[in-house]
Symmetry: C2
Subunit: 520 residues, 2 copies
């Protein structure tokens, strides 16, 4: 490690002087504590970070897309310069394998550069120009131009399950910075060291590209104390969060009870239903089971898009289930991100197994070490699923519930589902065409519908929707992955009868940025 | 009147059988009650309207933009066929003059046709296409396409101050129907007859264009009973409201406390600051005063964009104020929309006048009849304004507060303002260029900034932003006027690896609708 870890928050360009220990990194596979201890930012330091963000906000908002892009690219480069430190520390404190850590770092820098390209190009602001018609009767038409502008400082909570791509410089931070909003990050206790390494990279990038102090701060102190105080602070104008339903709904309640309520973008929970029709089984039940098992156990099942619910038509899929059972029975244990997630996984699978009518179809007989999870498949009838809302409970980890019933029952079960990030349908093209009612329900319940594929592996691109109706997210009008994520941190602003020279470049007559505009 | 008023809700295609009287139209200028009495929809009928809306939702959402456009155009035509009834009843129950009622009917049908054109053209859905790259390393890229889809049934509350353009078939209803959402309207007690006439027009249009029953219902019963029960109902997915801050925040609280929280678009209150710099006065103080007086008293000051706050630099504007005083002193009384608004106006102007440091600069000496308001101008120092948050209170009607102070004080006062729908700056182009700090503050506080103009007269077009930070609206990311209003009732949905034939037309390879798309 070339980065020296101090265990202290970044308050703009300063480091915290707080001495109250809030936690320490823990190696999930041994339970061993990792140095250094992490200290909570003091209340005064939290206030200072927010005052700096407030002061930086108009300065940063006034910067061009080119300047913001420069900053985002510098963050990516600074992260790449410490990738070995990230991997070394990540191996210790996250339980994730090296390939995943390197891959996730690449996704993170890729996201930063994707947003850089978006704001450098500039058309994303949705510039709209309606020119004056002074002669119009009965009243003249004014010159009216609009575009998206940043909301102001954004609070971003790091996610336990993505120490890079949804943490300090992850998608929420990248999209908020791209939009022109300063960001105050609240670190996650599960990977404080990786957070500090990445936080230092962001600060160096801010300095080298001449950004205002306060464009970025990173706070340690736990979501329930420091995090809540940040969300309550009048400077904060929006919140990005990926985590549990209880954590997300607590932030929603705090945000709604502020003097000025603010938007919360919380990505919370999803069981990602997968409907398997006979035509898909006809293509090869065993291969389908293998593909499903791969999705189920990817990253020890710790993805928001993990397929936690499978529907099979009664009387079909015996070979699929037999193969799945054989894979799960022989499944290897996997180290989870932290002891809390591991415990919650055991409790959730046990709770669902204990529901009347549920049987354990398969469970690995391997010996699980400290912090490790084993894959599990539960089985229930569609009638029981329809009757029992607890069977919609999320088992965060490599477990799924297989539900069998008639097509009518499956349709009824799907109609009773809560909002989901994804919903998948496997079948033939003829079956898809004949399933318009089922597809319509899946579309109404999810942010992304998938045909003949599995939901894990979220593509970062302009058409991705990683969102979905509540409680998959707090706000189904948004996505936290892909370029559309920038829209979460903006609002439209209109200029009426402003002279050309006083308009933002995006709205000037000559279109000096050469962006795509809507001109009436 | 050719329309026979029954005083009953529209529950889809049926009429309510409720017999509990909830209110009656009242002629504001006499206090006389107008026939018929209006009966509240029963609880069972409210449930039925929402069940019909739920059932209609997927059917209506699946209809093409061309079909929705046909429906919207039919509503406009049906409204035009009863315009004489609207005017006759509106003259009785709204206190508005005939020209305004005809003009507002024209704005309403214009809005309906504007949204029809938007959805017929179709590009508004923001179609995004990223094609598969099966050979990509390390993992293949899936085919991923996204577009905006309707949220589901929307509750729309009629506004007292726009019996047509923000009521039964007003902007909220038009934009929600355009998006593909069924609408359940809650009538306003101030103009129940106009609501019934327009409601009948919408129902006839739905029938003649073959829309599913439940695409529209109109409920009588008062916001606090029927309205709250509608917003609490699980079928409702979003709320549109224009009215008071207390009414809007009550709906926000209800929506946030639902099992599934839903978005509320409430346009609530705004005092629309106007900053007048010396360069504007130099062009002619009296003419500016006349123009300001025209904006202040337009519609008896009952516009959300009424200029209720004016800043003048200390030592300037004496002739402006003298002329304004002479206009106001001689100002004619105007009949307000209803007795409640008239009483609230008197109370608000008296309350502000009673604040220490505030003096009454001008107040009409005319005799006000029943339900009439007189224009009023109050005066305060910037120091007092900065000190006293009560001076930001809205006086809904033809009253304004003039604040004088140094440029520094004015800047400080502006920085302390709550969110506004509009903010205006009058001055020379040189002054505008020299006022970047002030302009930056105005931009951060408002949804629309205006140079050398007044805020009333909200243009309905693609670049209008009639929104603004809280408490101007509940959600500053939105506008309730103009084509962008449609985005309030949508969410993005992504399709992954769907065969072309199973995709919506907007996303099919051949682009059969010929819309503008984002293709990567």
């Amino acid at each position: 490690m070339t980065t020296q870890l101090l265990g202290k928050s970044f308050i703009g360009l300063s480091r915290s002087e707080g001495t109250e220990v809030t936690g320490q990194g823990v190696q999930p596979s041994t339970g061993a504590k990792l140095e250094p201890a992490y200290c909570s930012a003091t209340a005064a330091e939290v206030d200072k970070a927010l005052a700096l963000a407030s002061a930086a906000s108009p300065v940063y908002a006034a910067m061009s897309g080119a300047r913001r892009g420069e900053f985002l690219r510098a963050i990516a480069a600074e992260i790449e310069s410490v990738v070995e430190d990230i991997v070394a520390r990540g191996l210790l404190e996250t339980g994730l394998p090296e390939m995943r850590l390197r891959g996730e770092t690449g996704r993170t820098t890729g996201q930063l550069r994707m947003f850089a390209a978006l704001v450098e190009e500039g058309s994303w602001v949705d510039a709209r120009i309606e020119r004056a018609q002074p002669e119009r009767q009965p009243v003249p038409k004014p010159d009216l131009r609009s575009m998206l502008r940043p909301l102001g400082p954004v609070a971003v909570f790091c996610a336990s399950n993505f120490p890079l791509a949804f943490s300090v410089a992850g998608g929420d931070t990248a999209s908020a910075l791209a939009a022109g909003c300063p960001v105050v990050v609240i670190a996650h206790s599960s990977h404080p060291g990786v957070a500090e390494i990445v936080g230092g990279a962001v600060i160096r990038a801010a300095q080298s590209t001449g950004m205002p102090e306060g464009v970025f701060s990173l706070l340690y102190g736990g979501g329930r104390t420091v995090g809540q105080s940040v969300v309550k602070h009048p400077a904060i104008q929006a919140v990005g969060f990926t985590g549990s339903r209880s954590g997300g709904t607590a932030l929603m309640a705090t945000a709604a009870s502020r003097h000025q309520p603010i938007p919360v973008y919380a990505e919370m929970s999803s069981i990602n239903p997968v409907v398997i029709l006979p035509g898909a089984l006809a293509r090869g039940e065993e291969a389908l089971a293998e593909a499903f098992y791969g999705s189920l156990t990817l990253g020890v099942g710790q993805f928001c898009t993990n397929p936690g619910l499978v529907f099979l038509v009664e009387g079909t899929g015996d070979a699929f289930l037999a193969k799945l059972k054989s894979l799960v029975d022989a499944g290897a244990p996997g180290t989870m991100l932290n002891a809390g997630i591991c415990k919650a996984y055991q409790e959730a699978t046990q709770a669902l197994s204990a529901v009347k009518g549920v049987e354990v179809l398969a469970s690995s007989s391997a010996a699980a070490g400290i912090g490790q999870a084993l894959p599990t498949v539960l089985l229930a009838s569609a009638a029981d699923f329809i009757r029992e809302p607890r069977l919609q409970g999320e088992m965060f980890g490599p477990a799924t519930l297989v539900v069998r019933g008639s097509l009518e029952e499956i349709q009824q079960a799907l109609a009773g589902l809560e909002g989901q990030l994804t919903a998948s349908l496997h079948g033939s093209i003829d079956e898809l065409a004949a399933s318009s009612a089922v597809v319509s329900i899946l579309q109404s319940r999810a942010g992304r519908v998938i045909f003949n594929g599995f939901p894990t592996g979220v593509e970062v691109c302009s058409s991705m929707v990683h969102g979905g109706p509540y409680p998959a997210t707090s706000d189904g009008r948004s996505t936290s992955v892909g370029t559309m994520a920038i829209f979460r941190f903006c609002r439209p602003l209109a200029w009426q009868n402003f002279p050309d020279s006083a308009l933002p470049a995006e709205l000037q007559d000559a279109n000096p940025l050469g962006i795509r505009r809507h001109e009436a």
